[in-house]
Symmetry: C2
């Protein structure tokens, strides 16, 4: 494993942000988490679990009630009838992803990760010993189109990893993308899909087509989910994976060797979280999103229209700078930090997060406007 660990480095996103951490009067539109605090009901549930001394070892695979609740929740929209045996509770989506890749991938395998994507997928895939291929979706509206995408699937491609809604674009993969995925899975009977739905609850417009709508391939889909974004619980480190029972068993054995389990009282509070209404957060994000779209249009900045998550991917190609140079100059000159598209595998774009509050957004957009007028035109 050391040969793979040797190749790892701390995320470029974090590194880029941290360059400006001590710079005065900087606005960070980089944040990958809600600015909301965790709702009080969830914190109270944790306190109650502590008062009841639920401080002893958790069941390795997770709290039974929590797994049952998740099985029911994840069965609702689909024909699939999951039970708790289809669910494992993990240390955030991060651990769910490495568990899924760890049981599916090894030396000699290929994993297809459409870009732009959250960079963690790439490093995790490399840790398993697999080789990584990418497919640049920017040439097809950030969607998957069979005619092009199928050319990139190799004989040894075992897994496709993707997030919908996507980070960094905020795009929801459309029905044609799902038909493409399904068709590829039918053509390649050993091909699995790991679908990261951590932004699933944050969809502001349009439908949510899912690879889980196709019964014939559902056994080869691993769903990865987290409490982080939906319930403003990033610091709690709790998420889960849903998959066929035999995969969950293998993931559980792996999980036991990585972490033993997720803190007992956190899992109990997560049960309460499932009942919390988070509509007020979504309304606020949508408000910010609409503000951003309006401002960017007025500033004549091109962008990819986001349907979900809390990111907007602006198109900077017309300014004749690569994304790192653009973002570095913007931060150096006007103190606004946004993330270069290249860190997500796609040049010519940059990611603005609206996890930040309205004041930061207004001020940040004012400065971006000034930057473009002074340095880009």
């Amino acid at each position: 494993m050391k040969h793979f660990v040797d190749t790892l480095h701390i995320s470029g996103i974090r590194e880029f942000s941290e360059m400006y951490i001590n710079k005065e009067d900087c606005i960070f539109l980089t944040i990958g988490e809600p600015d909301f605090n965790t709702p009080t009901e969830i914190k109270d549930a944790l306190k109650l679990a502590l008062d009841e001394n639920h401080t002893h070892y958790p069941p390795i695979c997770g709290n039974h009630e929590l797994r049952q609740r998740i099985a029911k929740l994840e069965s609702m929209s689909f024909f699939e009838s999951y039970t708790e045996n289809n669910v494992i509770i993990t240390n955030g989506a991060t651990e769910a992803l490495i568990l899924a890749m760890g049981v599916l991938l090894g030396h000699g395998d290929n994993v297809m990760i459409p870009t732009p994507c959250f960079p963690l997928y790439q490093t995790q895939a490399l840790l398993t010993g697999a080789e990584v291929s990418n497919y640049d979706t920017s040439t097809h509206g950030f969607q998957l189109r069979y005619h092009e995408f199928s050319k990139h699937i190799k004989e040894n491609t075992k897994v496709i990893v993707l997030a919908s809604p996507n980070n960094p674009t905020g795009i929801v993969y459309d029905e044609e993308s799902m038909i493409t995925l399904h068709r590829l899975m039918e053509e390649h009977p050993d091909l699995y899909v790991i679908i990261d739905e951590v932004y699933r609850s944050m969809i502001y417009e349009g439908e949510y087509p899912s690879i889980r709508d196709y019964e014939s391939t559902i056994d080869r889909v691993i769903l990865v989910q987290s409490f982080s974004k939906t319930f403003a619980m990033t610091g709690w480190r709790v998420g889960y994976a849903v998959a066929q029972e035999s995969l969950i068993k293998q993931m559980n054995a792996f999980h036991q060797n990585l972490v033993t389990g997720v803190a007992t009282f956190i899992q109990e509070a997560a049960i309460t979280a499932l009942d919390v209404d988070t509509q007020f957060m979504l309304d606020e994000y949508d408000h910010r999103r609409k503000y951003l779209l309006k401002r960017l249009a007025l500033m004549d900045v091109d962008y990819i229209r986001p349907e979900g998550a809390f990111y907007i991917f602006i198109d900077i190609r017309k300014y004749g700078m690569d994304s790192y140079t653009f973002c570095k100059q913007l931060a150096d000159e006007l103190g606004v930090v946004i993330i270069p598209g290249i860190f997500f595998g796609t040049e010519g774009f940059a990611r603005i997060s609206y996890g930040a509050n309205m004041d930061s957004l207004e001020n940040g957009l004012d400065r971006l406007d000034q930057f473009i007028r002074e340095f880009c035109l």
Copy 2:
């Protein structure tokens, strides 16, 4: 990685215990955790962190203050002056161990694990792609003796993993064992030692010689520690590793790919834990230990005298049964569950835990006495 994950299975210890979970009137002397609840001060610190809305992402490598406190604590007894850059906060000792093995071991490497040992070491080592060798310490009083042990160190042995105090024996490795380790490290300049000290705070008699006493090899020692046993925090899943800075950096990159980090408010409560006096727990364990030693002597049951942890390894060789048969019969016939030595890699012994309360111990020992008289003589 899937090739290694395929070989994993759920711990034999858990599986054996779970066979009897629905059996009526069963006494479990199997437990690997304190029966104490987490002290109130630590729970209160967590509640305060929640009230202050410390619910957002943690620093990946861990809370700065916690790392500083640990650096100071771990520097005290040794000449080494650790800083926070020598410390990473992990999801229990389990994650600290896989991080350490992950950065040190790969395909083609050998890892030496003296037995009996906690079985997790073996499966974690296999996950890295390394091959595992064992050395049976039972022939030398469960200690390391250069003349024999050195024969088992190969050219490609990169790491020795051991716990002191040991689980399952409760033995503390003596000075001659440490001299042996140090001599081997001097002879093999690429050889590292991972020392698991999760039972370090629970030593009831004798000294604690440490491989960290030797300055010339300290850079190749990785210390693994947990809050679980010392502070009765098994359900909190928080521990740490201490090592040279370059190793911590690599472990941190790996850590980011496994879990992102440890829950923010748990790390804050862990700072408070470091100030909590746990002497009352140690006194109670020592009381139980002395009770067990006296009872076993009266029953003429042989045992390895434990100096630490909360286990006693009884010697069942004179009863003419292998350890699995002995423990299964004891559980089937008299409803006392203890763990077969074979699960720790050593035949002819069985582990009794005194993590259980006095009532269970008294009742369990009565039944063990009856079992030996009725089935073993």
